[in-house]
């Protein structure tokens, strides 16, 4: 009995010893030298949402910045998944926010209005802010400007264009569309309405979420900042919605819903254009990489290599050229950040402002991201990339356009964003004929009321 007790005791002591050693080793590993802040340098904690291959690029940018620095040390922390906003707010409320945050929701004005983030003029010098404004693309400037102040800097733009499967169009004797009428013709040729069986292919189907893009194309604006009013009932916005709803009239709401959901069952995140489900799809610049990979796999399999193009959104008569919806990933500096100046230095390094264009061009090429300034685009390394990727050139031209608009940068923008998507979704999926003017009028009143309340808070 005594022997058993002593053995048991020794085993407990040995287990505790192993546990202590394990804790020491893991602590050493977790605070390995590459993440340790060097002496006399200020740490900049950077929260971002990038994962997968993009995360490695982000860490590479941070490494290059840290190597170039004597004053600051950026520690990137990946926070993938939903609710980054919520985590951020809890950190601000708890008094321990990061020094730099990367977001992609239309929250700049909302957060700036409430004092959750700093305006850039609170961190940078007036001269820097003035030069930055002139340096950015108009679309990039619009994304972060609230009440004539910059509240962040986009680190990349997301631009939408139409991707065209030229091989599929050629099979039907069609060319890429230049006007809305061309687009409708393509849709009706590839998927003639009234077909008894379920459709296997569509020429094009508008996505209700993309009314944000089609509104400006039809010459409309969702918000008039001169008198702070929602402007949904303008003829242009109504015309854009009416055109989108015409596809519901043509194919029926059930067919549109069924076909769109069918895209989700494609293996992995296959672009539906590859499966020839559509001849034309609206999407962002990140698909260029997918197209190249797809064409390479076709070539490897010795199949006919499909040809694709990326074109600006076609206009109706009286519409705006090179128009659409822009969003982006924005750097913001939280209120209460300990190293706001270090965060600003990292922002400049990443975006290429103040003579760091070459480094930013390198970052954009690595990630397949759209620069926020023509100065970065003009860099030789980026020009070389464009020469290799002609499809990307369309997106760069659109990024420089004056007619790319984000969700209005105003308090209450997330609500505005949701309501507009719901409006188009309701109209396009209605089983009875939707009364568009009435729907727009009701939504306008509802959104205006929410925005007025949000503006009057604090």
């Amino acid at each position: 009995m005594n022997t058993y007790s002593s053995i048991r005791g020794m085993l407990v002591i040995a287990s505790l010893f192993v546990l202590a050693i394990g804790l020491l080793v893991s602590q050493q590993l977790l605070t390995a030298s590459d993440t340790q802040v060097p002496d006399e340098r200020e740490e900049v904690v950077f929260w971002h949402f990038w994962g997968g291959a993009d995360r490695a690029i982000v860490e590479d940018v941070a490494r290059r910045f840290n190597e170039s620095q004597n004053d600051y040390f950026v520690r990137p922390i990946a926070m993938p998944g939903n609710n980054l906003d919520l985590k951020f707010f809890l950190s601000v409320t708890g008094g321990d926010p990061p020094d730099l945050l990367n977001i992609d929701d239309p929250v700049i004005a909302d957060w700036g209005h409430r004092g959750a983030i700093l305006a850039l003029d609170e961190v940078a010098t007036p001269d820097e802010v003035e030069r930055l404004e002139a340096w950015l693309f108009p679309a990039a400037r619009r994304l972060v400007t609230y009440q004539d102040r910059l509240y962040g800097v986009p680190n990349g733009l997301d631009i939408r264009a139409l991707y065209v499967n030229k091989t599929m169009l050629a099979r039907y004797g069609l060319s890429p569309p230049k006007t809305i009428a061309d687009l409708d013709h393509i849709a009706e040729t590839i998927a003639p309405p009234g077909q008894p069986a379920a459709f296997q292919h569509h020429g094009y189907l508008p996505d209700s979420r993309r009314i944000w893009a089609w509104g400006p194309v039809f010459g409309g604006q969702f918000y008039d900042s001169s008198d702070d009013h929602v402007t949904l009932t303008t003829p242009e916005i109504e015309a854009a919605l009416k055109w989108m709803v015409s596809y519901r009239d043509r194919y029926g709401p059930s067919e549109i819903a069924r076909f769109r959901h069918g895209d989700q069952s494609l293996p992995g995140k296959t672009f539906p254009l590859f499966a020839e489900r559509y001849a034309i799809v609206m999407d962002g610049q990140w698909r260029v990489r997918d197209i190249r990979a797809f064409q390479k796999s076709q070539a490897d399999r010795r199949e006919e290599v499909a040809q694709f193009d990326a074109i600006p959104l076609p206009m109706p008569p009286g519409g705006k050229p090179n128009a659409g919806w822009v969003n982006g990933n924005n750097f913001v500096i939280p209120q209460g950040a300990n190293a706001s100046r270090g965060a600003w230095e990292f922002i400049k390094f990443w975006c290429g402002f103040d003579g760091q264009e070459a480094s930013a061009a390198h970052t954009c090429v690595a990630g397949g991201w759209i620069p926020v300034s023509q100065h970065v685009v003009d860099e030789p390394s980026f020009q070389e990339f464009l020469a290799e990727e002609p499809l990307f050139r369309t997106f760069i031209e659109l990024a420089g356009s004056e007619n790319q608009y984000p969700v209005p940068v105003i308090p209450g923008a997330p609500y505005f964003n949701n309501e507009i998507k719901n409006l188009a979704e309701s109209a396009m999926s209605s089983s009875t004929e939707p009364d568009l003017p009435q729907m727009l009028k009701e939504a306008e009143t509802r959104i205006q009321s929410h925005i007025d309340r949000a503006r009057n808070e604090q």
Binding site: D85, G412, P414, Y415, N422
Partner: protein, 335 residues
């Protein structure tokens, strides 16, 4: 002397008794203390504070600012125009009022069948209970695949049988709605069944929890009652209606109240299938999601608190109503 000894003895006994009482009190406090602290910090404090916040404008960043009845006036105006909370309440009611009774009917039916003495009874019981142990997130994603209108398993089966194929989570249509009976609603080989109906289907899949309680209750019914009824010539249906069902009413009542509360508070599965925003077209914007979006997306914690209190009051009224009416239909035995 004897009297003195008695006095000092009783004083000693009293002191020992007092010490024992204190010790047991400290022991009880030691065990209950952590829980009581948790109750105070995590339930009572937020409960009281949320009532105060419901009269404030509060965005998490800045201190709450007293705004009187502003949030409640906003709720009233939304009820008047049928937007916001009114819309969310309609969606919640639709979901709760169909899913709870259906889960009770199916739960009782299943439990009755599974209480029959048949081969493989335990396997069937396990199979029907199994969905309840699958995490909500995994189950939600699974159902999104199953109900994919284009090539989900459910629509494939319906299609192969030549039946209508609903659009499920892709459509804001409602089965229980005046629009359902129009010809247009049934056109294009589809049915006016939409996202809320799909949510109800999902909720029924996890009714194993309730079924187990019914099974236990059925097992508790004295066999002698069935034997007596059988001798009197009562058939299986008569026995079910006159014996099983009345004796199950306390459990049905319990499940009714719990099911109502659970369905009104349902969030995770709805958040997942609705893209976190009540898609499509706000058709799955239930009160819990409306509350979440108001608080953490629109940063309107005061309004969200008012919604939470409205939900609390509505649930209270509904539960009170159920308790009041239960006297008429719940069998509580001979008193």
């Amino acid at each position: 002397m004897r009297h003195q000894a008695d006095t000092s003895g009783s004083a000693e006994t009293a002191s020992r008794e007092s010490r024992r009482r204190w010790r047991s009190w400290f022991t009880a406090a030691g065990f209950a203390g952590p829980w009581l602290l948790g109750l105070l910090a995590l339930f009572i404090y937020p409960f009281v504070v949320s009532l105060y916040w419901s009269f404030c404008q509060y965005d998490l960043i800045n201190p709450p600012r007293f705004a009187g009845l502003d949030n409640y006036e906003q709720l009233a105006s939304e009820f008047a125009t049928g937007t916001g909370i009114a819309h969310a309440l309609w969606n919640t009611s639709y979901y709760a009022l169909i899913s709870v009774p259906l889960s009770i009917v199916l739960g009782v039916g299943l439990a009755t069948l599974l209480s029959c003495d048949i081969r493989g009874q335990s396997i069937f019981r396990t199979l029907f209970y199994l969905p309840s142990v699958i995490p909500v997130v995994a189950a939600s994603i699974l159902w999104m695949w199953l109900l994919n209108p284009a090539d989900g398993l459910v629509n494939s089966v319906l299609g192969s049988l030549g039946l209508w194929q609903p659009q499920w989570f892709a459509s804001p249509a409602e089965l229980v709605s005046p629009d359902s009976f129009t010809e247009a609603a049934w056109a294009n080989n589809s049915a006016p069944i939409g996202s809320k109906d799909a949510l109800i289907l999902m909720s029924l899949w996890g009714m194993g929890n309730f079924m187990v309680i019914y099974l236990a209750a059925i097992g508790d019914i004295p066999k002698s009652l069935y034997e007596a009824a059988r001798i009197d010539g009562a058939g299986p249906i008569r026995r079910f209606i006159n014996i099983t069902l009345p004796l199950l009413t306390p459990i049905i009542f319990f499940n009714l109240v719990m099911g109502l509360i659970q369905s009104v508070q349902a969030f995770t599965q709805i958040y997942i299938v609705s893209e976190g925003r009540g898609a499509p077209a706000d058709s799955t914007l239930v009160i819990s999601l409306h509350l979440f979006l108001s608080a953490f997306q629109h940063l309107n914690m005061g309004y969200a608190s008012a919604v939470a209190w409205l939900l609390f009051v509505l649930l209270g009224i509904a539960t009170w109503f159920l308790f009041t009416t239960s006297r008429r239909w719940v069998y509580e035995g001979v008193r």
